[in-house]
Symmetry: C2
Subunit: 141 residues, 2 copies
DNA sequence: TGATTTTAGTTGACTTTATCAATCAATATA
DNA sequence: TATATTGATTGATAAAGTCAACTAAAATCA
């Protein structure tokens, strides 16, 4: 496995993923972006969840997260509630509209996952994910 | 392997890759971007190579490729030569400066690859790449 | 052969993603 | 108590990306 080809192979896969996600989200006439989707999912799955949590999970700059969350608030998909533990931060919550969107998005992700993993065994997929995590861990040391 | 986690896992890996690449390119005081690097590598490895070839290889829009190549020409990293087979297109070639950059970039990629694959067998890596290609193929059908 | 369709490359306009720097206030640490 | 760190915001800017429209060359069709 030569180094250039392996890196390029991964870039290709993720690019294909993003294109597929874009296509299916668009087909549902949803106006959210991939990063919106990811943020909403994180907020739905972590409790409590602050901007800092999202930034850490995604390993992104605080500035980007602030803007991303601000957009989601504007779209009435999430809201901020005071964090009793820390006056500097706010807890993020999905609105009803956000919950509704999350359901649609989950469906999209399922479709994409099924398409991607067609004819591939659960075992192989589990191995693949394990390897992905290993590689990521190595890179982040 | 749940669908959301698997997609997220891949995004994390590629994000880590890009960050690592950025860090190492910056450390060499090179002013190129990741896409510059990828384009230069493609041009070096395909003969003949036209803008259309690059766009197809990367599965990107022609507009982006035109701009990318234009930037590389401005930086004197590549040049265009008439394509005798088709008056509409031009063959892309690396300049000496481009060749020099390519060598540095190859070193960066090798470092990243070695870091990423630390303690992982060649066999496992080959399997991983094979799987990556399968998944990409499924998505692009 | 001429008409029509497709393709290579360019430009315009706009969107999405992303980071560094600076700042202020709250919290943690020495 | 003084100092350092952290949460969030804003400014400024860069990189990556796409759709649309266009022109000219090439391919295809009748």
């Amino acid at each position: 496995m030569s180094n250039h080809n392996s890196l390029e192979t991964l870039f290709h896969l993720v690019h294909a993923l993003k294109q597929q996600m874009h296509k299916q989200i668009e087909a549902l006439n949803l106006t959210v972006t991939p990063m919106h989707v990811r943020a909403i999912t994180i907020i739905a799955e972590q409790t409590p969840c602050t901007a800092s949590d999202v930034a850490k999970f995604l390993n992104r700059d605080k500035a980007q997260i602030t803007r991303l969350l601000s957009a989601l608030i504007s779209e009435n998909l999430i809201l901020k509630a005071a964090n009793e533990k820390d006056k500097r931060s706010q807890c993020l919550l999905l609105t009803e509209q956000g919950e509704c969107l999350l359901k649609q998005v989950k469906e999209v992700e399922k479709n994409i996952f099924n398409k991607m993993s067609k004819d591939i065994s659960e075992e192989k997929l589990a191995e693949f994910q394990q390897m992905t995590r290993l590689l990521t861990g190595n890179l982040m040391e």
